[in-house]
């Protein structure tokens, strides 16, 4: 792909755990185009999070390479935003101070910081909570704060690692809807990891399915559902249902394999 923002080429990653070599990623190949929303689904423990750590540059690869706009990623790449599963909000900062943190790091003047942070906070319905500390916010609110804290400094590529994983089902759908709205405004390139197939299809332009460990890409599937999408009724969509059935068949094998076979009996 000529206009790939991110090109993952034969990426491998091994770990040593209690003296044993564990192969987390067994040669991942993936290209992500400018402005694309790509989701990656896979059974738990397939190395999805590891892949994002490698792309962000927080962790070195043990084989293969990651190219960001043609240049190999070595060390932390600050053009890449990373929304982690744990919200990791700084508990000593108020909501506003947390959201404004990246701007503070870039030495944006205080008034502008405040203006931009408050605008972002209002956009996700957290107005009036600017002065609250993280412990005073619910899980859903914290996760929204976590996402806008990355959106605010406008990174060119955004990695998201199961950002809605710890949330309850209703809150999840609402936040998915909110995320899609925000994304439609900016059309940033997003790589989004999840183990939830519904979420993977509902959000994505393309869904990549990963195998059980050592993880490799099993298939990449375009989602031909027009945007803007109605997340709340996506189940009724015929395209959605067919893709869901197809991907679940692929995924089921991997989930069983990844479980070490104890599901086979059922």
């Amino acid at each position: 792909m000529a206009d790939a923002v991110l090109s993952i080429q034969g990426v491998q990653r091994d770990f040593f755990s209690r003296g044993r070599l564990v192969e987390a990623l067994g040669g991942v190949d993936l290209e992500i185009a400018e402005g694309e929303f790509l989701t990656i689904v896979g059974p738990s423990g397939c190395g999805k999070s590891t892949l994002l750590n490698l792309v962000s540059g927080l962790m070195p690869t043990t084989g293969g390479r990651v190219l960001y706009r043609g240049a190999e990623v070595r060390g932390v790449n600050t053009e890449i935003g990373y929304v982690t599963q744990q919200d990791n909000l700084f508990p000593w900062r108020t909501l506003r101070e947390n959201v404004a943190f990246p701007l503070e790091v870039q030495r944006v003047p205080p008034e502008e910081r405040r203006r931009r942070a408050d605008a972002m906070i209002a956009k996700v319905g957290l107005g009036n909570f600017e002065e609250h500390y993280p412990y005073e916010l619910s899980g859903g609110m914290r996760q929204r704060a976590n996402i806008i804290r990355t959106l605010i400094y406008d990174p060119q590529l955004i990695l998201m690692d199961e950002p809605f994983g710890p949330l309850d089902a209703q809150t999840r759908v609402i936040l998915q809807d909110q995320l899609l709205r925000l994304w439609l405004e900016s059309r940033k390139t997003v790589v989004f990891i999840t183990h939830d197939l519904v979420e993977a299809i509902a959000l994505a332009d393309r869904v990549a399915v990963m195998t059980a460990r050592p993880g490799v890409i099993k298939s990449v599937n375009a989602v031909a559902i027009p945007r803007p999408r109605d997340i709340f009724h996506i189940h009724d969509n015929e395209v959605f249902r067919r893709l869901y059935d197809k991907l679940w068949e692929e995924l089921e094998v991997e989930v069983r394999r990844g479980s070490g076979g104890w599901l086979e009996a059922s």
């Binding site: 700084f90 900062r93 943190f101 990246p102 790091v105 916010l137």
Partner: protein, 275 residues
């Protein structure tokens, strides 16, 4: 859809604060009343004195200038020792937490130094620094130093790596990470160290005055016990107790402000360390 929002628990002056203090006063009064009642009936006041006698002695002492001189001397020793020890302890903690190898090399030496009983060192400090307040300040600061040092060191080592990574991904440099992430994340530990070590500053000053001094509350305490004046001795102990309560109240207030981002404890921020 606001979700469940947890609001801050009432602060130290929230509802229940007045009642709590009432109970405290009642407890103190009850203990003193039992003591007073027991005196002359079952207990000889020569050994244990009595609250009324101690009260009278305190009033008498307040009328004398010597008491304020002694109070002033002890407080000067305590505070100078505290600040010297705390500043050096926090600085050493900050520096060593960044220098892995040096920290490992120094570890057994620090353990050994901290293990020396200060009572054993007090006479040496008096030989080295004289019987004036200098030796007491040094003694107090050695007690404060290790507590603040260990807390700072452990606090910085314990900072969640995820916090540092978040900042790093957002483009923060090492300096910014240190100032904006590591220091605030470690601050509860550092503040706990600062709080825990204050009583030890007072203990250091008093021990020093016990060894050799010509003024100070410890000197006065020593003097009274030498004369078998239990009333005077216990009166001085009361003054020390009141000083400690006052110091702690000030520190609690500062802590509540600095750590306002933390969920309040069931004690409502009034929790005090037990030594």
């Amino acid at each position: 859809m606001a979700g469940s929002v947890v609001r801050a628990a009432p602060g130290p002056r929230g509802p229940g604060w007045a009642r709590l203090n009432l109970y405290r006063v009642l407890l103190a009064v009850a203990v003193l009343a039992v003591w007073e009642f027991a005196t002359d009936r079952w207990v000889d006041p020569f050994w244990f004195s009595s609250p009324l006698r101690i009260g009278a002695h305190l009033v008498e002492m307040v009328g004398q200038l010597d008491l304020f001189r002694d109070l002033w001397v002890t407080m000067t020793e305590t505070f100078l020792g505290y600040f010297a020890g705390a500043i050096l302890g926090v600085l050493a903690g900050l520096v060593l937490s960044r220098l892995e190898t040096l920290a490992r090399v120094l570890d057994p030496f620090i353990v050994a130094l901290n293990g020396i009983p200060r009572v054993a060192l007090a006479p040496l400090f008096i030989i080295w620094f004289g019987i004036d307040i200098k030796s007491k300040i040094v003694l107090a600061s050695t007690l404060v130093f290790f507590i603040t040092f260990y807390n700072t060191f452990a606090g910085i080592r314990g900072v969640e790596p995820a916090f540092k990574n978040v900042a790093r991904v957002m483009g923060a440099g090492e300096r910014q990470i240190f100032l904006k992430v590591i220091l605030p994340a470690a601050s509860p530990w550092i503040i706990t160290g600062l709080k825990m070590s204050l009583p030890f500053a007072l203990i250091g000053a008093i021990i020093g005055e016990f060894m050799a001094a010509s003024k100070g509350l410890g000197f006065r305490l020593q003097l009274y016990t030498g004369l078998f004046n239990t009333t005077g001795a216990i009166a001085v102990i009361f003054i020390l107790m009141i000083m400690m309560i006052a110091f702690n109240a000030i520190l609690n207030r500062i802590e509540d402000h600095l750590l306002r981002w933390r969920p309040k404890t069931p004690m409502g921020g009034e929790a005090t360390e037990v030594h």
